[in-house]
Symmetry: C2
Subunit: 436 residues, 2 copies
């Protein structure tokens, strides 16, 4: 049906009449609205992280490479029907980060090797024990039942679930396939070899694509996550200072503010951090991340950041309750007295965190004596008596202790990962500038 030939939609009112002035048929306008919505959504997702677009094209590229190999090389002619295993491998193994692709590829290759050897062994064993073909197939089915059950159960063991879940799946698949095929295929060995080699070709193509074309490193993401968590903690403290304790403290209302929502994302960052850390350990040396880089340190730092964020949550809920029951009006004197202390503690703590985050970002050792941290500690320690009158202050001073622990953790990371010395880094910059 052409748009020009379509009857105009029945006009139910003047307004509808006006809006349909262009005489586009209903379904076309609907379609264009859906199109615009999808365009916006897709655009937003792509802009949020342009590496997603690159990854999509990388998957396309890897599949194209496999198909081209399939079309042109005599190699794949020899492989025959097994060539599809390379396609299957590429679709399953290609992941967003280098670490994930590498771990899946190795899992797949090893599981295939182990399972096919075991299945061929089972087949040979069965044919040695019994002579009749029927009895042999019954024996093989019993094998399949018990091996599949045991392997499935092993997936419930947390350590295996975390690291080898995918490998166990491939193991069950390959074992069943080879064991079942052994019944009909005369020459099992060449078939198993063919499949294994095509799978290796698929894994190799995935690894080349993922490392050589716009590589996405899990280690990079983990490093950036640590720095951004520190920034978010600093944001919250600065926001608290502005809204609640500062000289021009405004509403005292934290809900709906950007910094208030930001620290919540820290609380739920554990899973992402753990999986990035597992993947980062798989990745080869790249950029500034050398051999045996102390990735686990990021998990320690993350745990401390989450504890700090949880104290912040308690503090925020406390401030919200105070506001609800007009606490400042009820106790104006106490409120005035503690306001300055809180303001100073928040400001100095925020500056400490900012320095730490920029040290992590630039991979330089943070300065040994942090003046802001000492100032915050001084305020926290100096006014215990005042503190005892108000639990918000107690919580805030507890937070300063936690920030001290975070500082130590960043220092540890800097030492273990051999961050550059800050002085030296500055000199390097100066030399670079002079040389230009």
């Amino acid at each position: 049906m052409d748009a020009a030939e379509a009857p105009p939609p029945p006009a139910s009112s003047d307004a509808a009449n006006r809006s349909s002035r262009r005489r586009l048929p209903e379904w076309r306008r609907c379609l264009s609205a859906v199109g615009r919505f999808a365009e916006e959504k897709v655009g937003r997702i792509a802009r949020e992280d342009p590496r997603r677009v690159a990854h999509s094209f990388k998957v396309g590229l890897a599949l194209t490479l496999v198909s081209v190999l399939y079309y042109v090389t005599p190699l794949f002619n020899g492989f025959g029907g097994s060539a599809m295993w390379a396609v299957l491998t590429v679709v399953i193994v290609m992941e967003f980060t280098v670490g994930a692709t590498l771990s899946k590829g190795v899992n797949r290759a090893l599981a295939t090797l182990v399972a096919s050897s075991l299945a061929i062994g089972a087949h040979k064993g069965a044919s040695l024990i019994v002579s009749s073909e029927n009895t042999e197939s019954i024996l093989l089915i019993v094998f399949i039942f018990f091996v599949a059950s045991a392997a499935t159960f092993s997936r419930f063991i947390p350590e295996i679930k975390a690291r080898y879940d995918y490998g166990v799946g491939i193991f069950i698949l390959t074992f069943s396939l080879v064991a079942v095929s052994s019944y009909r295929v005369e020459e099992l060995m060449p078939l198993a070899l063919q499949r294994t080699s095509t799978i290796f070709v698929g894994v190799a193509i995935c690894l080349c694509t993922t490392v050589l074309v716009f590589p996405v490193w899990a280690g990079d993401d983990l490093h950036k996550l640590a720095a951004s968590n520190l920034d978010k903690l600093a944001d919250f403290l600065e926001g608290m200072e502005t809204e609640c304790f500062g000289e021009n403290a405004r509403s005292g209302n934290l809900e709906g503010k950007d910094f208030h929502d930001a620290y919540k994302s820290i609380l739920s960052s554990k899973d992402k951090e753990d999986s990035l850390c597992t993947l980062a350990k798989w990745e080869p040396i790249h950029r500034k991340f050398g051999f045996r880089y102390p990735w686990s340190q990021y998990q320690n730092l993350g745990t401390l950041c989450r504890q700090c964020a949880s104290t912040m949550e308690a503090l925020a809920s406390y401030v919200a309750i105070l506001r609800k029951y007009q606490y400042p009006e009820a106790n104006p004197q106490l409120y005035m007295k503690v306001q300055k202390t809180c303001s100073q503690m928040s400001l100095h703590s925020a500056r400490t965190l900012r320095e730490l985050s920029s040290a992590v970002r630039s991979m330089t050792t943070p300065s040994a004596m942090n003046k802001d941290l000492s100032a915050a500690m001084k305020y926290a320690n100096g006014c215990r008596n005042e503190l005892l009158q108000d639990s918000a202050l107690l919580q805030l001073s507890d937070m300063v202790t936690q920030i001290n622990e975070i500082t130590e953790s960043v220092n540890n990371l800097a030492r273990l990962a051999r961050f550059k010395n800050q002085e030296k880094a500055r000199n390097d910059v100066v030399i670079n500038v002079r040389n230009q």
Copy 2:
């Protein structure tokens, strides 16, 4: 090497000598230690949830059924090499719950249908447009590149990621495979039909096994999770009462107590709850869960429980800080005054939550007027002046408000899910008892 023939291990000391009295060789003792450890671990995992063992055997059973079909029926003889697709489907589609298996099975079947149709269409289209075989294969490769890239990108859209991630993966796989095969296989249509029908056989076997043999329902788990979350909240309040506010209040130390760790698991229950809810919607009618059962209500209830747990966390961290700075000793009068109020609020709130959890468990409507909730509300409202002196009290009274919301949410659930009337349920029990 036999154990009897093995030389005794070199005794480095008397102690070592005594321990190796039985003259077991080193590697055997090592092996038996590993065995005992594995046995304990496996035993614990199996006891924690015996359905895991059942699931493992179910996977074994489904694979055995596929293999038997492969061995005995002339049906599979006709399918030839495609029979392996049934094995592959079973390994991939079998999941722990009925809902997950059903959703994966439908995803797999639909994605295969759509992708093979599209690939065959692309093949036909390409052969219509160009005449040379080489040009056609180039055209097909270009198709694969763009379709795979677009489909991979769609996986980054959260809505698609949550529901159809697996389906999109299968779509890419099937499209590439059929498009690539089209180059070498003469008769594409029969091949595609064969594969699709074997996949349907695989999905059917999975569904039969998962529904007929010890079915595990995601809906059941979601329902039990809701009840146990309510119980954990009650546990915390009772624990608080015993440790901090009660007449024989002991240590005031909450760390390391069972109830203190329990509420933390509520905070991290969101992902599990969401995924169970998505899967429960896939499941057919079973037991007391009828058609269009209001599963989303469990998510509302869960959100309220998490808010309440988060207030509890704030309260617990507050109590910990008070303890750290010996607040009770510093302000004995205030502490005494608020202790009774806190104790009563905690006790009545805990009883309210217990009643709600038992109502959810037995699927009966909770009583319309909850005396304990009214008592807790009375304490919370009656002492605003005292409350203003201490923020712990403020937080506790805030929690009473939240428990009121939880009560409303459970009532909503009872109405929408048509829970039995409590009076009627009791009468039923009486009648049952009399009939026995």
